[in-house]
């Protein structure tokens, strides 16, 4: 009989037990989780992956080529997706491999959690080629650091600036806007100005949370604070600077002091935005927002208020030091009380299946197809809010039938090369019910036994 602690540690905090993992965790699982916090987060192994700067430099050049070709009547629109899609596939495959192979699955789950918190989505231009480098460059190195550093790195990354349109945002009284205004006198063209998108989502999604105490005035003012936060190598007014890298454009920055959330910030150009972000990172509403999301992810869809309170206090007390917050999370009794309190997302379900069955992530054989089939394409949540994190968002009838059908196809592929009856206690540990054990033992074939293992109620949840 496996201990409940190791089962919860591997399946809820980790990404699903691998054969032998529960036995090696031993104890109550908490030490195993704490030990994963000790060293720098692991980088992805694949040296072939290109940096954001390389991808975006090439993509901008291609985009110009496409525009020129269009002027001469050629349709080469497909060139950009043809360039970006292979990058997406390599990146998502490398991430999948890491999730399946890692022996620090808690860190990998946290990485995925934070990428989803600062979500970009591949259904917007360029993002298919940038989502992977965004995660590797902005998120992954900082998941064991300070939240404030993570916040600034995420907002300054070109993927985020492009995803939420900030690279074009221009202060209405900036030199650029004034010049454009003079030029456009008498014609119908509106001079460039601000775009609220990034400013709003930083406040609503990344820091304070909706209802966190900001107003429309704060949104608009904060958007002017980060005017000039842009990406090098674009078109026209946005051409200067190293292609594909963050640049601050002083000419597009709204001049003067600004008041956000009642505090006045002097104009120090680029620094003005960093100062606001630093204050946002330490705001009590941010602590509560992050605590709620962590508790929802690791405890329950509707997390116990006491646990949220404890995490929020830790977030504030330790000045946003994330490992300290994780230690409090690990020590939170509520996280260990409901063994199967969370319904797996498709990503959880797929990754835990691959880990549990020791399936290879084979880059040559469409490794991303399961994500497509089961409805959670990597890095494509479709909105800056990221993927939802409650059972009701994932437990649809059709979604369940697809998991079962996929389990059956996996079983068919493996045949008798895996023994579901032997694997069941190693994957499900203390959660394994007698009903599931009996059903697997009595299965008519190895395929059917595998289908039953992966479809079992205790494998659908974590």
């Amino acid at each position: 009989m496996q201990q409940l602690g190791s089962t919860i540690a591997a399946n809820r905090f980790g990404l699903g037990a691998r054969p032998g993992e529960l036995a090696s965790i031993g104890g109550d699982g908490r030490d195993w989780l704490r030990a994963q916090l000790h060293h720098a987060p692991p980088a992805l192994a694949d040296a072939q992956l290109a940096s954001c700067q390389e991808v975006l430099g090439e993509a901008f050049a291609l985009q110009r080529e496409i525009q020129q070709a269009r002027r001469s009547g050629n349709d080469v629109q497909q060139k950009l997706p043809q360039f970006l899609q292979p990058i997406y596939k390599s990146e998502a495959t490398a991430r999948f491999q890491q999730a399946v192979m890692t022996d620090r699955p808690f860190i990998e789950r946290l990485t995925q959690f934070w990428t989803n918190h600062f979500a970009v989505s591949t259904d917007k231009q360029y993002m298919a080629g940038l989502a992977g480098s965004f995660e590797r460059e902005a998120i992954r190195p900082r998941v064991l650091g300070n939240f404030g550093d993570l916040l600034v790195a995420a907002e300054m990354h070109p993927a985020m600036l492009l995803y939420l349109d900030n690279q074009l945002s221009v202060g209405p009284h900036s030199p650029t806007a004034i010049r454009a205004g003079l030029r456009s006198r008498g014609n119908n063209n509106r001079p460039p100005g601000i775009n609220e998108n990034l400013g709003r989502e930083i406040l609503e999604l990344h820091t304070l949370g909706v209802g966190g105490g900001y107003t429309q005035y704060d949104v608009t003012t904060f958007a002017t604070v980060i005017t000039g936060w842009s990406v090098g190598g674009g078109n026209g007014l946005w051409a200067s600077g190293p292609p594909g890298r963050f640049v601050f454009r002083p000419d597009q920055h709204e001049p003067g002091p600004k008041t956000v959330l009642g505090r006045k910030y002097g104009d120090k150009g680029y620094e003005q935005g960093v100062e606001v972000l630093n204050d946002l990172a330490q705001h009590p509403s941010t602590a509560r927002h992050i605590a709620t999301k962590l508790a929802r992810h690791f405890i329950a869809d509707d997390p116990p208020p006491a646990a949220v309170e404890r995490l929020a206090r830790a977030f504030t007390e330790f000045g946003g030091d994330l490992p300290s917050v994780y230690r409090v999370l690990i020590a939170t009794p509520e996280a260990w009380e409901q063994p199967l309190g969370k319904y797996k997302t498709p990503n959880d379900f797929i990754v835990s299946s691959y880990r549990g069955l020791s399936l290879p992530v084979d880059a040559a054989h469409g490794p991303l197809a399961p994500f497509e089939l089961l409805g959670q394409r990597t890095w494509q949540p479709g909105s800056p809010a990221g993927w939802p994190d409650r059972s009701a968002d994932w437990d649809g009838a059709s979604a369940l039938l697809k998991r079962v059908e996929w389990a059956d196809a996996v079983g068919g592929r493996l045949g008798s090369r895996r023994n579901a009856a032997e694997l069941a206690p190693q994957l499900l540990g203390a959660n394994l019910t007698e009903a599931t054990g009996t059903a697997i033992a009595r299965a008519a074939s190895a395929q059917q036994a595998m289908t039953l293992l992966l479809s079992a109620p205790e494998f659908m949840r974590r």
């Binding site: 259904d123 349109d165 490794p367 649809g396 009838a397 079962v404």
Partner: protein, 433 residues
């Protein structure tokens, strides 16, 4: 037992374990006043569709100033709007809706908004779907609670969500299902029976599996209908009992899905029509569309938004074609969480706003009208100096449709479907008598 009979038996068994008593699928069939069996489709436009672009008020004297280069011109002019009533037009990409209006099968609502007055997409969508005035006030949706309030016997799966999961608007006490095409081979009956058994003590999974099998059966009965059109794989039919180590294509080798012929929404609307065409199938269908959050380079008569509107319009035209004779009994409601700023922003797009438009289309709709108490677009008329001012509560529209089209009793509309909405009276005469 033939395969089909056995599957029917399994479905019934699964339903029984799900804890519901099923008498007959005819239990789905309900009729509104007048003996007609109504169908209702709800399309959620996620991301806040720009109502001033979809339904341009070209007759408003402030409109051109606010919209600048993207202002749509009056009907008849180059790249002009499609005609509605001499003041409002339709975006030129909405050709099918324009025809529907002319055929008196479309009502356009304008300056309409849910009770939500902030500018978060996600809270806005929550209020749009939960039917209250407060985000996250309820974990169920108004459409589901309306189905639960249908007088007479309760039935399963009166509603279907096209997609793997069910959006909030359709979640709640009434049994509903979801359906999406499968690219995998179906399960053999023996395995299915064992899984049904394994789920017997799990209240969530047993119900979900039963619902999925029910939807699958309804879909498969559409011989030559959507199953064929969509390569939806007649999964319920002869699935051979797979021997160990054999058959079942490796999921890893699946090629990525090819784009559906007939536009972005073709697959979804064909599936919806396939369900709704059935005399004893679901009566209500819901699906999502995205891509309406046009912060930058929105475009005017042509461009980004124009392309998305054209795809939506084409999807609606396909829906009408696929519904065939059932179209005359159908109402299709298109709603979004809120509108966008009245003026173009500094990056040739629009930011989050307040009031917007809604569409009610279909053969059952008493159409050919624009319903709007137009607040104007002068600086003083705008909400908080920036957005179209709401003058119509969207719940008035929803209540009117649910009352006249689905026959939901007024007391249920007030008590459970839209709690605390008594001041927002149902609009009358939206549906043909």
């Amino acid at each position: 037992m033939t395969v089909m009979q056995r599957r029917e038996f399994l479905t019934a068994a699964a339903l029984a374990t799900g804890g519901a008593l099923i008498t007959s699928r005819l239990a789905f069939a309900r009729t509104a006043a007048g003996g007609r069996r109504s169908r209702f489709v709800v399309v959620i436009l996620r991301g806040a569709l720009d109502g001033l672009a979809a339904v341009p008020p070209y007759g408003d004297r402030d409109y051109g100033r606010l919209r600048g280069e993207f202002a749509l011109r009056a009907p008849g002019q180059p790249k002009g709007a499609l005609p509605l009533n001499g003041f409002f037009g339709l975006h030129p990409s909405l050709g099918f809706l324009g025809q529907s209006y002319a055929a008196r099968e479309l009502i356009v609502f304008h300056a309409v908004a849910s009770p939500y007055r902030e500018r978060s997409h996600f809270d806005g969508q929550d209020v749009l779907e939960n039917g209250t005035t407060v985000p996250h006030a309820l974990q169920s949706g108004w459409l589901n609670r309306a189905l639960a309030a249908v007088p007479g016997e309760h039935s399963r799966d009166a509603g279907v969500a096209l997609g793997q999961n069910v959006p909030l608007v359709m979640r709640g006490p009434a049994e509903v299902t979801s359906w999406s095409p499968s690219k995998l081979t179906g399960l053999d009956d023996d395995t299915l029976a064992r899984i049904t058994d394994l789920y017997a003590r799990d209240p969530l999974l047993s119900v979900r599996l039963a619902d999925a099998l029910m939807a699958d059966r309804v879909a498969t009965e559409q011989q030559g209908g959507m199953a064929q059109d969509m390569s939806a794989a007649p999964r319920v039919a002869a699935a051979p009992n797979t021997a160990p180590g054999q058959a079942a294509p490796p999921p890893a080798n699946q090629p990525p899905a090819a784009p559906a012929p007939g536009g972005a929404y073709a697959e979804t609307v064909r599936a919806a029509a396939g369900f709704l065409r059935q005399q004893d199938g679901p009566q209500v269908a819901v699906f999502d569309t995205t891509g309406w959050d046009t912060h930058a380079n929105e475009g005017g008569a042509e461009g980004q938004l124009a392309g998305r509107l054209a795809a939506l319009d084409k999807g609606l035209a396909t829906l009408k074609g696929e519904l065939g004779p059932v179209w005359k009994d159908t109402a299709v409601l298109l709603v979004t969480e809120f509108g966008r700023t009245a003026a173009i922003n500094g990056t040739r797009g629009t930011d989050h706003g307040t009031a917007t438009m809604a569409f009610l289309a279909g053969g059952a709709v008493a159409g050919g009208r624009v319903i709007a108490d137009w607040p104007g677009l002068s600086s003083r008329a705008l909400y908080q100096g920036r957005d179209l001012m709401p003058t119509l509560d969207l719940r008035c529209v929803l209540k009117g449709v649910l009352d006249e089209h689905l026959g939901i009793p007024a007391r249920s509309l007030e008590a459970t479907v839209f709690p605390q909405s008594e001041r927002s009276r149902a609009l009358q005469g939206l549906i043909r008598a």
